[in-house]
Symmetry: C2
Subunit: 190 residues, 2 copies
């Protein structure tokens, strides 16, 4: 797959075949891609936690918010939930600023997941303190992102943006539509 196709296929998926598991070695191989990616001043302040048992995934799920723009949908039903999560933590004993690092890492992981036949969603909307309590996450770690990973069962398409409306939406076939700004809009001249 050329890289543009890989990027195109790496959509944010929120419904999965939950029976399709993602094994530890596979998840580690995704994190290895993040490890081998750039890091500001090479500090490498990120740590990763893997959840891929049914029990652990069930513990993570309640602390995540799904698809803010779909107000009548509160996240995937049982059977359509992710079968794994990778939590990205910022280790404050290394630096207090995680700037560009966690975006780089998350993108490497999600692209790697696509290549391996999986997909998922980067989730920033997290009940952080409750999640910290649930897993007794030490204070030295900042919860930056949770990546939901599984076997996607939804169709996601990119649309041209209209009237500056960035809200994604679902049509009657449950196809998920994501309006994207044009190249013309985002490349500016000074």
């Amino acid at each position: 797959m050329n890289f543009k196709d890989l990027v195109l296929k790496t959509r944010s998926y929120r419904r999965f075949d939950e029976l399709c598991k993602v094994d530890l070695k596979t998840l580690e191989s995704f994190i290895n891609l993040a490890r081998l990616s750039a890091s500001g001043a090479n500090r490498q302040p990120l740590k990763y936690v893997i959840f891929n048992s049914g029990e652990d995934c069930e513990r993570v799920f309640p602390y995540l918010s799904w698809a803010g723009y779909l107000s009548d949908w509160h996240g995937p039903e049982k059977g359509e939930r992710p079968s794994a999560y990778i939590m990205i933590l910022g280790d404050k004993s290394v630096t207090e600023i995680f700037g560009v690092d966690f975006g780089i890492a998350a993108q490497s992981i999600m692209l790697g997941a696509t290549e391996a036949g999986f997909g998922g969603c980067m989730i920033q909307s997290i009940k952080r303190e409750e999640l910290r309590n649930e897993f007794e996450i030490p204070e030295k770690y900042e919860v930056l992102l949770v990546l939901a990973i599984g076997k996607p069962i939804e169709n996601v398409v990119i649309d041209e943006i209209k009237d500056n409306d960035v809200k994604y939406w679902r049509d009657s076939n449950k196809t998920h539509h994501v309006p994207k700004r044009s190249l013309k809009e985002i490349i500016i001249k000074l």
Copy 2:
């Protein structure tokens, strides 16, 4: 190229064949990869500025800091400088928070550059106010990153980290060594 090889090849390069130009269409194709990547709440708050003329690149160069750990090297000499830059701006009229977005975008761009036979470096250490004055960048844009892009002429290798020392260094053959933390160190259990 499989994705792991693409990631491995996407090192931070700081010396280039400056005679090898990067044309506008190619740079736009890299930005298109960022455009097609994930964005927090799909807000897409990033804007991009392309510099690829010799004159513009010469204007950008003085405002960038290169390789902080190489204290006796003040950046690439003439002839070894990047032949293009992509500046990533955060449009504060869209949101004030650029969180995960600019890392995602930068990683997509740099991976795309590698696939196209180029390479470069994400530069965060920028004399932001001077650069803003030089190009009259409106206040509504936050200068997030400058990506230097060109035809790399340096050899960069990944080493195992020793004694927690993250500083990259150059050997007598000018090979650039980057110590990376082990997978064992960065995957933690709670």
